[in-house]
Every structure is written in C-alpha cells, then in structure tokens.
Subunit: 484 residues, 2 copies
C-alpha cells in the first residue's frame, strides 16, 4: 500500500517543465491529468472519463447554440461507398490519401470498398439529393455528432490522430447568399463559443486556396494561439456554392416552378479544442480549466486530523451540499492522501477553485479559497461563502480570457519587413500580420523558409500595401504562424 | 405547388394496415413518421432528426440512471486489432462472422486487420488491464455511447442492421459477487427505464447457454412483446466472471498484497428500443409516443380561416408560450395545410396530445384536447388548461403502460402440453411459459418445429414439474416466443 501511494505521488509530480520541452509537457498533462490514454493501435487514443466529461460540457455548449440557430441533430452511416466519395473530384483527391478502407464484411470480400467517413459530405449530400424537392424543403439545417477517421502518420493526442470525435453541420439553401450567410453565422458561433465558454480568443478569417477544404469554394477558420505561440485551427466553416449540389444532384423547384441547384455549407469543430484548452490555459502545474467546462468547478479539501477531524469533515460535507445547488462540487475526503497531495492532484486536473477547511478555519467560521488561475488565496467567512465562490468562479472565467487575449495581442506582430517576419516565425514568437501578394508560390516559399503558413486572411482587414514576404503589391492582409 | 401538396397528403395516408402486413406497416411507420431513411449501402440506415430526437430522449433517461448508479462515460477506439479480438476464444467465435474488417489505411495495406468494433470488450478489457493495479482501482464503472457494426445479411430499420447506436457499460470488480450484483443492478435499471420512460413492460430473465453472449458466464435480458406478439430482446446484461480478466490479464493486488483476477460485466441497450416503441404502442395511424420520450408532447393546431383567423392564431401562440414552460410544445400554424391534414401528420408522428382551437372555442374561451393514445376528445377551459394538459400527458403515459402490460399478460400463456405450445408459437399468438428440461437439444427441436426460441428463464420462477416441450423432468420455467 505504501508503495502504491508513493508511486501515485510520484505520478502527479512528474510533469515536464513546459519551458524545457513543451511537447512533452503537453503529453504529460494529457495523461497525468487523466484526460486520455494511448490505445493499442498506433496513434489511437482512449478518452478517459475526466476528458470525456470536458467533451460533454463542450458538446452541451455547442449543441445549445446549434439549436438556437435552427439546426437539428441526425445521424448518418459510418461507411461511405467509394463511388460516392469520388463524386466530387477535389473532395476525393483531398481525402483519399487518409481514408481507412473496409474491404471485408464477415467472411466475404466486398465488391466495392467502403470508406470509414473522414467527413460526411458525400453521404449527407446523397441523402439531401433525395430529401430536397421544392423550395419548401429548404433550408435544410442538420448537425451530426460522431466519430470520423483519418489515417495520419504523425499523431498527437486530441490534435492529430486517426479517430476523432466531432460535430459536422451540413446545410442546404435556396441561394448562394443564404449559404454564405450560414457559413459566416456558424463561424461566429464558433468564435463566440470559444471566447465565452473556453476563454479562448481567436482570429476569424478566410483560408487561402492552398489551405481550404477539398471541394470548398471558400473555407473560413478560427485560429487560436497556443502557449508555445503556435497556431491551432480550432474550427472551420465551409461555403460550397453549388459544387456539391451539382456533384450529388441536389435540385429543387423554386416558387416559379424552375429546377435550381441548392447551395450548401458544412462546418465542424472537434475534440481538438480540448488540446487548445490544455495549451492556452495550462501551466507548469498542469491543466487549468475555465469554470464553464470544468467537470468539477470546486473541490473541497478538508484538513482533518486529530480530535477535530470529524467536525471538519462534517462541515466540509455541509459546505459541499450547500454549494452543489449552484456549482459542480467535489468533496475529496479520502483518508489515505494528505491535503498537500490532494492540492497537487486537483491542480494537475485544472479544477478552477479549491476550498481548504481546517480546525482553525472551523473555529473562526472561515474557509480558504484558492484559485487555480493565479493561485491566490483568500479567507472567506462561511456565512457568505456562496456568493464568494460564485464571484471567484466568474472572475476566473473572465481572467482566463483576459490573459489569453493579452497573450494573443502581445504575440501578434504587425510587420513590414521580411526579416522581422522570418525572426518571428523561425523563433516561434507568435503570429505575423501583414500584407500578402495573393500568390501561392510566395506562400509556399515562406513555408519552406520558416515553417510558417498563412493561417487565414483575417476578416478584420487592416490597410496594407506590399507583401511582407516578397515585396510585391499586397492583395490582402494575412496572418502567418507555425501551426499544429 | 398543388401537385406537391397532393403527393404529400398521399404520403401521409399510405400506411399499410398492421393487421394485413405487420412488417410493411412497421417499415411505413419508420419512414412516414420521418424517423429514418435507408442509406446507400444495403442495410444501412439514416436516423433523421425526428428519430434522432427520440434517441436523445432515450439517452438522457438512461444516462441519468447510469450516473445515479455510479458510472462515468468514456470513449474507446472504433478499430480493434484482430489479435485483441481473438484473445477470448468464445468471444471471437461468436463475433468473427459478422465483423467488418479494415485492411487498408490510406495507400498502404495494413499488416494486421482491424475490426470495426462489433462490441468493445476486447479493447476496453485491454485498457482495464493497464489501469487496474490494486483493489483501490476497483470497481471500475464505465459506460460508452457509440456506434458499433455487425455485418448482418437480413436488415430491418432499428431492429437489425449493420451499424447501430448504443451504449455499452463495462465494469470490473474485486469479487464475482460484486460483479454479479452489478449485472443484476443494470438489468433492473433497464427494466425500470423501459417501464417508466418508454411504457414498455418486459420479462427479466437469464438466457440459456445457446442464446448467451459469446464469452459470458451468464447473460440476462429484458424481453418485450411487440404488437404482432413477437418478442424483442431490448437490453442485455452479462456476467463474465473472471473469463475476460484472464484472457486480457486484469489483475489487482488485494488488501493482503495477493494478486487476484478481477471479475467483469458488460451491459447494453441500443436504438433498437425505438423499434420496440413503434411496435408496442403504434397503431393503424402510425406512431404513438409516450410523453416522456416524445420530442413534441403537445402540438397546437389553430383552426383559422375567415375574419377571426388572426385572433385564433394569436390565441394559439399565447397558448404555446404558456405551455412551453412545462412541456415540449409545437405550434403548427402553417397556412398551406388544412387542419385535417395536420391532424393526420401529427398522429402519424405519434405526438401524444393535440390541442385544437377554432373561432367558436375562442368565443367560449375553450380548446379541445385530443389524445393520441385513445383518440378521445375533451373540451377544456383556457383558464385551467395548464393543469389539464399536464394531467392528460401523465394519464397517457400511464395508460400506454397499462395497455402494454395488459397485452403482455393476455398474450402470455401458461401451458402444460406440447400441443398448446405449438399452437401459440406457430400461430404467433404470444409468449409461452412452462417447464423446460434444460437440454439444448430440446430447445433446438422446438425452434425447428415452431420457430420459437427460449427468450429467457424468467427471474420470477413459477413451480414447474415437467418440460412442456419434451415431457422430461423440468429444471426451470422458461418463456418461449418467436423473436425479432
């Protein structure tokens, strides 16, 4: 038993310093905060209960927003016949290299290979072609929560891996304008969700031709900055115009009885945002969770020993019960661990607020609130503790966003010269904003030279005259960064 | 437009009489109540928004119960290496014939085939073997919501198909007794859920050797009776003893420092229960949903024409807003359909309660409540309509269970002679209860002769002396039926 305890204590402590090796720090945090474990197939991942609870909170936040914007959930098949996947030529070219193929069912070889969905346009558009007959069937606004699979060589938990959990919205509209409006509406939903629930600021913008979704007319993304100043694409929204409608035959009779092609969109956010949560807010002690998506918002740790132990535990219980009406509260009254060990563990797991209560606190009718975000401590009266806890949680949520926003602003460099650009990108000091000529060749050249890519052309465009990369005339302002 | 309307009206009407062709009635109800559609791969199914909303209600009801019994959700990989699937020999023999195999990832052929999970024991037990070290890690109580795939030749929406949505609970315990207790606890959860939320009574019992889950020591099931008197297995709970722990190496150090094998269980319920909902409560007009899982509990249809139309619609809106605090309410104020057409449509979709309100009702400050279950109408004052609606819904829920329970009781025959047994089973008049000798050969003979199988050996055993099938000494009471 003593051995077991020692090894557990060691387990919590062994987390790599993020300044020393960010990538190892990330992996340590994932496994030691008990979010996920590695599966038996290379690159596969198991989402453990604590990680899954965060995903459920994310799902709830997004799902509510999707409903408020008129969408309904449905479920489409996992397996897509090859013949459907190839209907839209750009789409299949983009995805074919990373598709896992089912070739055998039971004892028989299949006559046609079936793709495990890497994304569901092909199957959903096939169904929409069947469902849409007249303008009265439009818009069709459907979302799906599911697993998808992309055969990736390099994998990293949450960020890049064969299988991931996500939502994919797919909509069909009577006009291109309506579809374009939907594309931007959902991009806004993602930005607002990231900001409000995850305390993650992001840069909204349009992807360049070379970075857009295979088959899309335009792809928009929200890009967030991680703790190592690299970019993470956290959500995308695609405008397809009539491309998929043409490939799959989604036609409707308009009010004048004319047969028209529908315009479609799709938009997706995956459990990759859990990776963003880790890297935007995490620190050398592990995870830091915004209260809104924390499975446990408040952990109560009684400091109980000697003759007052029972009184302290009784008060801690009362407190847990008092607070649990308004918050997700966990009482850690395990006798086999010391309070110090518990502090470490709950900090590692990113619980936003800790309440410590000991014999002296009990006598003074007080408790100590310890914030995970800035580790400040405050003694509060047990009488007014409800409002104090609510205020602390709300302040933590706001503070995390403030810090992340300041960090994004500080590490975004408006540059005029290529040398500055190179310095920022090669030294991974953040995002570069500046003019771009619009040429894919120039974009490629920057990537080869610095490892940086255009994350997007931000919607809030500043005036620019020349391309920072090549010095030619600029056509738009771009944001460059090194991306995950 | 007129054409579109006519064809829609026809669509709602064209439902096969269940007494004429039950199977076609079922398929008509599935598609015409807009629950699901057929996918492009043979046997695949698309769960449409209305069907998915019912599944979400079912998930919510089960998930709450799983949490209350101490379980947490997690997510394990979709793909299981063949070498893991074969670790438990009975398990692989049972599932191998219906596994879909991934043999190619991207452009390469895989060195080992990967199974799309037909169930997740193999992968979850592999992880448990890693996670369990000491008695303090037990019990491990995890549930997973996911898709699974079984390559079936014969398919039928919701009931039998390649891919289905389900939950699978997997638990590991220190002792066999605890695991056995968990097995029965979850069987009880299923029975109570079916009864309380879905208004479906069921027979709880133990499966015979020939019908148990591949690899289980014992399988228990809840069996419900459908509208055509056939049985549907709606949930199963398996006790594995130490079989899987031995095959996968799940060992723990007990309090005395000895290395012991864990005992495990699994239990699952799938969207097959939507099939049960259709077949237990449905009638010649389509679906009948119990209020607890109805996406829309109350539909309001204004009868609005002529000069009072606007007043009627305004009152219907007010009513919708008044009732929507307590119930899921939909106001159908579409101008292009007649009230009669709407009645048909919402009856087809099984909405439990309809409120009709027209000009005369408005004048008399009344509305008419029409129940879907017995189609009775009642005029109620607009003043006290909230309580009247709540009472009606609660009575509908209770009445559906009462009717289904009466039907199960009436169509369960305690028989003493083989001739009676044969008559019930071959004429599909219901369940047969009686003594069984315990021999698989006898069970097989009955199946060949009548198409009936032992659904389970019910937990509430009556005294029996001889086997109804073969006349030998009985070892237990069994329930026979023709099963889906």
């Amino acid at each position: 038993m003593a051995d077991g305890e020692r090894s557990r204590e060691g387990f919590v402590r062994e987390i790599t310093d993020p300044d020393e090796d960010y990538s190892r720090w990330y992996q340590d945090t994932v496994t030691k905060a008990d979010l996920a474990d590695y599966g038996p197939v290379k690159g596969s991942m198991v989402l453990k209960p604590y990680g899954y609870a965060i995903w459920e909170a994310i799902q709830a936040g997004l799902d509510r927003r999707f409903r408020e914007t008129g969408h309904r959930n449905a479920y489409f098949p996992l397996l897509i016949p090859e013949s459907l996947l190839t209907k839209e030529s750009e789409h299949v070219q983009g995805f074919a290299p990373e598709v896992a193929w089912v070739t055998q069912g039971g004892q028989e070889a299949l006559s046609e290979r079936l793709a495990i969905r890497p994304t569901s346009e092909a199957i959903i558009m096939t169904m929409y072609a069947r469902w849409v007959e007249s303008y009265r069937d439009l818009p069709l606004l459907i979302n799906q929560w599911c697993n998808v699979l992309r055969w990736e060589k390099v994998t990293r938990p949450f960020l890049r891996g064969a299988e991931f959990l996500w939502q994919e919205g797919h909509t069909a509209h009577a006009t291109g304008d309506e579809a374009q409006e939907e594309t931007m509406r959902m991009l806004d939903v993602y930005e607002e969700f990231l900001c409000t629930d995850l305390a993650i600021p992001s840069v909204k913008g349009r992807k360049t031709e070379s970075e857009k979704f295979p088959g899309a007319v335009a792809t928009y993304s929200v890009e967030a900055m991680m703790g190592d100043n690299r970019a993470l694409q956290t959500g995308t929204s695609h405008y397809f115009g009539t491309r998929f409608a043409e490939a799959f035959g989604i036609r409707y009779l308009n009010r004048d009885g004319e047969l028209k092609l529908a315009s479609t969109t799709s938009w997706g956010m995956s459990f990759r945002v859990i990776g963003a949560l880790i890297m935007v807010h995490g620190d050398e002690r592990g995870l830091v969770l915004p209260p809104r998506v924390a499975p446990t918002e408040v952990v109560i740790v009684p400091i109980a020993s000697g003759e007052t132990a029972q009184d302290v535990i009784a008060e801690a219980r009362r407190l847990a019960s008092e607070l649990s009406g308004a918050h997700r509260v966990h009482l850690d009254d395990r006798a086999e661990f010391t309070p110090g060990w518990k502090y470490n563990e709950w900090e590692m797991r990113g619980v936003p607020l800790r309440i410590e209560i000991g014999p002296r606190d009990l006598k003074e009718k007080k408790a100590v609130l310890v914030r995970r975000d800035d580790r400040t401590k405050a003694a509060v009266s047990l009488d007014g503790i409800g409002p104090a806890v609510a205020a602390a949680l709300s302040d933590i949520q706001a503070n995390l966003l403030r810090k992340a926003s300041a960090s994004l602003a500080e590490r975004t460099f408006r540059v005029k010269h290529r040398s500055e650009m190179n310095a920022v990108l090669t030294e991974r000091r953040g995002f570069v904003r500046g003019g771009w000529c619009g040429e894919a060749s120039c974009e490629r050249e920057v990537k080869e030279a610095t490892g940086g890519t255009i994350r997007n052309l931000p919607l809030d465009q500043h005036d620019v005259s020349i391309c920072v990369a090549c010095g030619k005339k600029a056509t738009a302002e771009a944001v460059w960064g090194r991306a995950y």
